[in-house]
Symmetry: C2
Subunit: 446 residues, 2 copies
Amino acid sequence: MKGMKNFFNPQSVAIFGSMKEGKTGFEIVKNMVEGGFKGDIYPISQSGGKIFGLNIYPDFKKLDIDLAVIAIPSQLIPPLLEDLGNQRVDSVIIISAGFSEVGNFEEEERIKQIARKYQMRIIGPNCAGIMNTENNLFASIEVRALSGNTGFITQSGALGGAVLMMAEELGFGFSKFVSYGNRCDVDEADLISYLREDPQTQVITIYIEGLQEGRKFLKEARETVSKKPIIAIKAGKYEAGIRATSSHTGSLAGEDRIYDAAFKQFRILRVDDVEEMFDLSRGLIYYPRIEGERIAVVTNAGGPAVMTTDKLEDLGLQVPEPSSTLKNRLKNLLPPHVSLRNPFDLLAYGSAETFASVCKAIAPEYDAIIVIFVPTAYMDSVRIAQAVGEAKKSIKRPIFACFMAGRSVKEGIEELKRYGIPNYKTGERCAKVIQKIVLQTLKNSY
Amino acid sequence: MKGMKNFFNPQSVAIFGSMKEGKTGFEIVKNMVEGGFKGDIYPISQSGGKIFGLNIYPDFKKLDIDLAVIAIPSQLIPPLLEDLGNQRVDSVIIISAGFSEVGNFEEEERIKQIARKYQMRIIGPNCAGIMNTENNLFASIEVRALSGNTGFITQSGALGGAVLMMAEELGFGFSKFVSYGNRCDVDEADLISYLREDPQTQVITIYIEGLQEGRKFLKEARETVSKKPIIAIKAGKYEAGIRATSSHTGSLAGEDRIYDAAFKQFRILRVDDVEEMFDLSRGLIYYPRIEGERIAVVTNAGGPAVMTTDKLEDLGLQVPEPSSTLKNRLKNLLPPHVSLRNPFDLLAYGSAETFASVCKAIAPEYDAIIVIFVPTAYMDSVRIAQAVGEAKKSIKRPIFACFMAGRSVKEGIEELKRYGIPNYKTGERCAKVIQKIVLQTLKNSY
């Protein structure tokens, strides 16, 4: 069977569909052009004319097409696929709906057979398209992803759109985006296998409702997690959820407990919702491993530190006291009245220098450090970020941050990013991320 | 004992502290002036001179002071309190630290006795001050709260600051804000009792680490929850957390399970973190009651609807099928292929009119409705918001929204707000809010 390369690295892309403003074809061409794709873009429509300065081709027979993106009515698709097959186009994305998801299994079977006949690979139908931020390929109607190191594969197009819009708001970037819809040919296993070898992708995230070929998926997943982590949202736990999934992608949601057990066995990190998926992705990109469960909290903010400590212990992690040797060392570093215990509450004495020196001093005794900082009138978040960032260079332990909150720490968080320190909205969310990475690390070291 | 009125509705406020830029006294005066307080503001400092066009008074003996805010070194405070007592000032906020939180129990006992001697009420010491958005009183160094209907009481000043900054980012407003610190006199029970009678406050939120007088608190809480809900974060569950709280507010965190049981019995809604506190507050302000646990999901977005359904069922709520009568009615309202089951997935047919008519048709059979909407190229979030908002007027059931995500739905969410419909970042977060309100309602109807 042919490979997937032309989906993500085509030299030329043909878009089939109406080129009237607001129509799907138009929107995809717009995304391709505005996104800055460097290869050839061929809008195909009987209308002819021009769009964004490009010729609209009524006839595509003489064009050299690497990737075809189809957004025409479903009943017109089989003959088009035959033509494309004869032209040796081997990568096709079908955006159009109207197949198994509305009970039209016959038409879907027909396109499947055409794909097989021509050794053509198809993503879709009933999908939202794909993106590769590396070469500015935005073959999709969705908002264009920012560049990043997380690959995202989704069975639900609507969820894909929502994720992209949430990510945009957060400044969160993706390496590749794929909405695969009814997966008449290319499925999640093929996509994971592709992303495993993609150098731009460090973390793979996936939203699934049910697998068609569980064994194939788990085989690919097993091979992948030894190279890079997979984060999964598996929806459709209950009968009501299953009702919804069968109504909208034509698949049957599987038995949830079986999935859960399989994910655990195959070291796929299951998360409950999209926010947790973002949180964990950002953590894993900076810190793929955390070697143990002894966590330190360094802070100038008592309340948030207590809440974080509660959450860490709820999740089975430890927040142990420093050794007496370390306590003595800290005593020399710190003003009187500062807590020499974990959480290390620096109170109003939490200057940039103190944050940095405490992090350095305690690092050897802990597996990860969370720095929680709430700015005061006297203390600037950028200086704290720089001091902790510089300290990080000599520390062999992951440092996470929770700078609270809003505009008062915006610049500090940007500075943290430059030092490769992920920041979380709350310490509780940071604790959840640390727990998942610790579990993953300890399991992988069996 | 005297009341609390002068804390929140003073005609004149004196601020004691250094009036040099960046110092606490200066920052409080700045907040008072920039916040637009209409009464008299008296900056008090031996320096004399002017600040923000106001006279700085070296002598305060002839001033008529309703509320004194103190930010001078701790050892100078007892003599000042004596002077204020002699002047019959009966409301005092002590921002300054240096008392029981650093082991200085003696000094704290001294100010307590002075307060008793003069029947003076004191908030603090070691606190971040108070706010009343109704009369623009910002007697605090923290970022000024927006106006709203949630009262917020916090034992941790740092947590208070973080909450205010998060709220500012979210556009979330408060009626009153109180950081009460070491509570040498006024405690959480007094504050709850005050907010119970405050017409601007519809929901009371509180962050506590430990109570000093549990019985008094629960008595006030019991009387309050029959009038308005109380949402509580109780931190300091574990030994490590207790270490932190005793280091920073000088209190001992209580046994968590006892708190949990008491909260349940007294119908205080416990939440795990600040984000959940915001979510639940916004829900309760619009819908103090949800009369049962039958929830409907109406959507154009399959994936997010399945995830929400999963969460609803995880939380013990029901997502039941419509009756066959209702199914028949829906069949006439909707295009073919649209799901007549709950979740009601309108697919691409989810026009503004369809959303509205489905909500109206199903309302009699469900206790609450969640509308999940992901915009497409053809559908504008403002129109959906207006249609659902208009429908809401004739529906006797709470409607919640989850418009996803970012800038694509920003205006739609503003429109929802005008119709009194709360919007949530994810359907899962919305599900958590509904569950808490349902539990509260069913418990209250014992």
